[in-house]
Symmetry: C2
Subunit: 424 residues, 2 copies
Amino acid sequence: MGLRIGMTLEKMIQDLVVKTKKASTSLMSLSTLSKNEVLETIAGLLETDKKLIQTENNRDIEAARAKGLSDAMLDRLTLSDSVIESMVSGVRELISLPDPVGKIEDFSKRPNGLQVGRMRIPLGVIAMIYESRPNVTVDAAALCIKTGNGVILRGGSEAIHSNLILAKILKKALTLCGVSSDVVQVIPVTDREAIPYLLRQEEYIDLVIPRGGEGLIRFVVEHSKIPVLKHYKGVCHIFVDTDADLAKALPIIINSKTHRTGVCNALEGILVHQDVAKSFLPKLVQALIKKNVVVKGCQQSCSLSQDVTPASEEDWGTEFLDLIVCLKVVAGFDEAKEYIYQYGSQHTESIITENYSTANRFITEIDASAVMINASTRFNDGGELGLGAEIGISTTKLHAYGPMGLEELTTRKFVVYGQGQIRS
Amino acid sequence: MGLRIGMTLEKMIQDLVVKTKKASTSLMSLSTLSKNEVLETIAGLLETDKKLIQTENNRDIEAARAKGLSDAMLDRLTLSDSVIESMVSGVRELISLPDPVGKIEDFSKRPNGLQVGRMRIPLGVIAMIYESRPNVTVDAAALCIKTGNGVILRGGSEAIHSNLILAKILKKALTLCGVSSDVVQVIPVTDREAIPYLLRQEEYIDLVIPRGGEGLIRFVVEHSKIPVLKHYKGVCHIFVDTDADLAKALPIIINSKTHRTGVCNALEGILVHQDVAKSFLPKLVQALIKKNVVVKGCQQSCSLSQDVTPASEEDWGTEFLDLIVCLKVVAGFDEAKEYIYQYGSQHTESIITENYSTANRFITEIDASAVMINASTRFNDGGELGLGAEIGISTTKLHAYGPMGLEELTTRKFVVYGQGQIRS
């Protein structure tokens, strides 16, 4: 019986995936105008069907409350008026962004007269696996529609009623615009085993994007035969160089640490050059403490400020996501670089310096998805870096490194215009 | 005892991988001149140490002969004078190619004054897993050195002595040029279990490229936690449209099928529009038969030419890699597109047509790493498409789709030049 149910679930996933892949081919050559029309229809329906969405959302909230979920969890689950408004404006913003699909790049003429270019095309079908926030359902679907990709959505079980009503609205909009509603799918069951079944469909799914805690992401990587774009965590550092303009250093560090603490581009570790430590470190610690930041430091930091508590070995490289920061005095650039290599997570690294050569070395030698000079780590964000919209941040290097925008949801095929050429 | 050996092997692989990753950071900022110097030194040593290489290669050949390997296998294993010469010229050609690393693209200024660009950087460490040809050892190492990547090479067990002597030469060249010899590694054991151990090192290896038969590639995908760039097979088609210039069609088809049969961009299936089938198909079959090609066809093809043998269901979509081809009469563009969707392998698809709109539809709607108009499928090749050098052809869409050149061995990080900006 268990096996029979298992097989039924596997078959259901398989059918859904095959259907999505097939339907996604119709999106490949859909015009930008048509795709924007679908997006505008989605935005309109989200507004007119708001009450309907909130009724279904309430079912999830009540169930979550009965299960005793935390207030923070309930908050993330709730589709309030303002959350729905921001979903709508998110979809409308996408309309105004350029469509990467169809653009031909690197066009050249070969010696034999062949004209060769590389055309941007959709990836095909993207599977999104995410946790509680049901607004991701609309965000992800809209990004995929704009870039001509089919999308299979697998949200958290606690948001299932919200996700299903949102899926209904998305499909209604597609149908109203004459596009196959199969291009957007929400997996209608909450069984955990659905995920491994999904992750084996490499023939029909081109990319998996997990969004959520490290546990979810590791689970996806472990089980997936499909390429995964992911980041595990953001352990970001700022290195205050000996040639730093300390008047810039202080606000940048405070902003990086305290602007928002629970995000992946928040600052987790500060490295201070020993030549400026004596003058700068006590001021820095005071400023952090004034903002309620707990400062854990190396022995030297502790000796320079009594407000620093000794850091344990586990503190170095920890993603606190809280008002806590690690502080270390380093002998110079090389020690800072070595520290970042050992404890960083290839997310965001920033240097404060006025020295041209040191800045240049940092930009070249530090390996992270974003390397910065004299700027807050909080700028490693699709919107802030000019991508317009963001589907996540990748800290693996293949395909995308850093924030992923619309272009990262596409790939390029070679297009070859011949006049009868054969190979000799 | 088995377990102890297993653990020792795992530890050996782990140590080798950690060492390579660490050493690869020194390649990140190595100048193009220095990398070219390493390549020139490798080329020189391959020439001066030719006898030494051939002595070790003979050990492999003798062992292979004793094991009764086929002549074709022995041929692929042999490092003859001419194979070594072509290895040397391959390395020297790389010297003349532009170095993609360090190039900053998409530079822009944000409203707050931040200057944002995307700098091409090495991927980090690349693992190559391949079968018998030992020349891949030098080709792959040279491509990785040029692009600043560390490389871990795992060749076939039958080529182990050849690969080890080539590794020695590669390491000698690196040392002579003052670069850590740890950036190039040949796995010194032939145990098959070494591969799964290697494929779990996602923290230290950024990309795996398997080259060989479908079995090897499926094994790698099955076991890898690291992203894999691969292609399983090349089932390439040519569609002869009703508006085809038949004088172009014939030589293109013959070239695609017979120029080289054992390669992934060779033609495996021909689709002929029903409106030209009666006049064109018999001539086509004659021309193919004259070149010793066995033609397997649909019912209609068989009725138009008695030299066509009926194709079985398994023939459609088969990668013959031989003087065999499938032939099918189709009702029009839509049936051709549907056939390619069902039986193609997203490798290379070509149309023969003089019709502007049909050509345009084909380029836009057909999903393959290279789509062509009036050209031989044999042109889907890094050299022919202008990439200069090729490390393989990808038929998965993430990161690279089609031939992979130097640029595909790099990624881009965001570089942010600030003047003290903080996020508001």
